[in-house]
């Protein structure tokens, strides 16, 4: 295993190194003026400098707040509706067609409506994040809960557990792998959407920093927030995977 793993890691780092080398080559050969493509060193040193700047960190904190507020709302609504749609025919019959209509709608198109109703501040961005993240979570929860082996539920009902209690103490835990997969997709979507919302209309946050820099053609400062949000996305994804592994200790490995 180990002997094979090392060359594969090398192989995998090859395209990443190539991209960086191409970037460096283009700038140092003078083929790309720094106003269009700043050299990598300039971007990364600026990034390092910004990460200690309280103003920049304040913008990042604003973005994170909106991200988690929207994501939390999406998890609460998505998981609850997903479980209830499995547990109750009535809820399923109501939720099903509405999801069918709303899921393929590009939620970003609702952003102007959210701005009109909720204003230009946090609320409209949080609403957009929640609207975008809720559907993968809801669908994954519904799929997971409706695919739970009925005999698992029967085993619980036989001991005297009520159907309602079994829905949350047996069906939901049994569907946890699927629910958490949906949440992880929702988390990455939240990360992307909050940034885009801030780019389209905001006075603060990382997305706003990118647009602000582009208006004054400070190219280096356009790269920095973009890289920050991408690293944030990677970190959240990795963190969530670690959490998932802990929570799913008893479940068989997924292929």
């Amino acid at each position: 295993m180990m002997r094979r793993a090392i060359p594969e890691t090398l192989l995998g780092s090859l395209p990443v190194v190539l991209v960086l080398a191409l970037w460096q080559g283009l700038t140092s050969a003078g083929m790309a003026p720094p106003s269009l493509l700043p050299p990598p060193a300039a971007v990364f040193s600026r990034l390092a400098q910004q990460l200690t700047d309280p103003v920049f960190l304040g913008h990042a904190a604003t973005t994170l707040f909106r991200l988690f507020a929207g994501f939390t709302i999406a998890v609460a609504i998505g998981v609850a509706l997903g479980v209830l749609a499995t547990g109750s025919r009535t809820v399923g019959a109501l939720v099903g067609p509405v999801v069918r209509v709303l899921a393929p709608v590009p939620k970003i198109a609702l952003y102007p409506a959210f701005i009109l109703i909720l204003g230009f501040e946090h609320a409209s961005k949080i609403a957009l994040v929640a609207a975008d993240a809720v559907f993968p979570i809801l669908l994954a929860t519904y799929q997971g809960t409706s695919a739970v082996e009925p005999k698992l539920v029967w085993s619980a009902l036989a001991t005297g557990t009520s159907r309602r209690k079994a829905l949350f103490t047996i069906v939901l835990p049994a569907a946890l792998p699927s629910v958490l997969t949906g949440c992880r997709i929702g988390l990455v979507i939240s990360c992307i959407v909050v940034f885009l919302a801030e780019m389209i209309s905001s006075t603060n946050g990382l997305g706003h920093l990118l647009v602000y820099a582009s208006r004054s053609f400070r190219t280096v400062d356009m790269f920095v927030p973009l890289i920050t949000i991408s690293i944030l996305g990677l970190a959240l994804n990795a963190g969530f995977n670690a959490l998932r592994a802990r929570l799913l200790a008893g479940f068989p490995e997924e292929s």
């Binding site: 009925p150 036989a158 001991t159 047996i170």
Partner: protein, 255 residues
């Protein structure tokens, strides 16, 4: 103990025509009796068990346990499924304790009883393993312990050894008889193996292929406690097995 009266079950199929799985089953099982339901695959024998368990409603007819009609699952009837249906997020101990806690037993007392049962099924030392870390035979031992734990007066066993290899299977048959000899619970045991049915039961109910009707009921007059090695060379055992196999192969008379 169990009184099944004129039971039929039909399912709606995809093309909206109805498929009859069970037709006109009437059967009485006495307290402490070990009865096997034997039939070819697709004869609805598992469905019969699910109806007695209260997991699936009958289309026609009634089931009564101790004179009370069955309307849903209850802790007087403990199921053991071919699929084990263990809770993957709970350890062996957690699975066995589940029913006890649901019945309102205090945690420390439940743990004590669960540990005793885990010892009874020869799994001492595996208390903190997750189901995924156990072999098929061990999983089914846990499932049996989980059901025995809350003390149902009737065991409903749905091809419990069907997913196991031949060696594990005979081992568990012996263990089941050992456990059964201790308190002689009423057992309804579904299987498609003639040897298994004859070895375990007081009575074998042979069903016809779809729709499942009672073809014949055969009393197994072999003395107890039974020992596999003695039975295999016992003329009466051999005759019973051959007779029932012939009965199963015999063409079905038109209803």
């Amino acid at each position: 103990m169990i009184a099944i009266e004129g039971l039929s079950k039909s399912f709606e199929t995809a093309r909206r025509s109805s498929h009859t799985a069970l037709a006109d089953i009437s059967l009485n099982v006495a307290a402490g009796e070990f009865v096997s339901i034997l039939g070819p695959s697709g004869c609805g024998k598992s469905t019969l068990l699910y109806i007695v368990g209260g997991f699936v409603p009958p289309t026609e007819g009634t089931v009564a346990v101790n004179g009370k009609p069955v309307t849903g699952p209850g802790p007087d009837r403990g199921p053991v499924f071919q699929e084990f249906a263990l809770f993957p997020w709970k350890t062996v101990l957690g699975n066995v304790m589940y029913g006890l806690l649901e019945r309102g037993m205090a945690r420390s007392k439940a743990e004590e009883r669960a540990r005793a049962l885990i010892g009874l099924v020869h799994l001492k030392g595996y208390e903190h393993f997750y189901p995924k870390e156990l072999s098929g035979g061990m999983k089914q031992r846990v499932a049996i312990a989980r059901t025995l734990a809350y003390g149902p007066s009737i065991l409903l066993m749905d091809e419990p050894f069907g997913a196991l290899d031949a060696h594990t299977r005979t081992g568990l048959q012996n263990e089941l008889l050992d456990i059964w000899e201790r308190d002689r619970k009423t057992v309804l045991f579904v299987t498609h193996s003639v040897e298994e049915a004859v070895f375990l039961s007081d009575r074998v109910v042979v069903l016809t292929r779809s729709p499942g009707r009672i073809k014949q009921t055969v009393a197994i007059g072999l003395s107890r406690p039974r020992r596999r090695a003695q039975l295999l060379v016992d003329r009466r055992y051999q005759t019973l097995v051959v007779d029932i196999e012939r009965l199963m192969d015999a063409p079905e008379e038109a209803p």
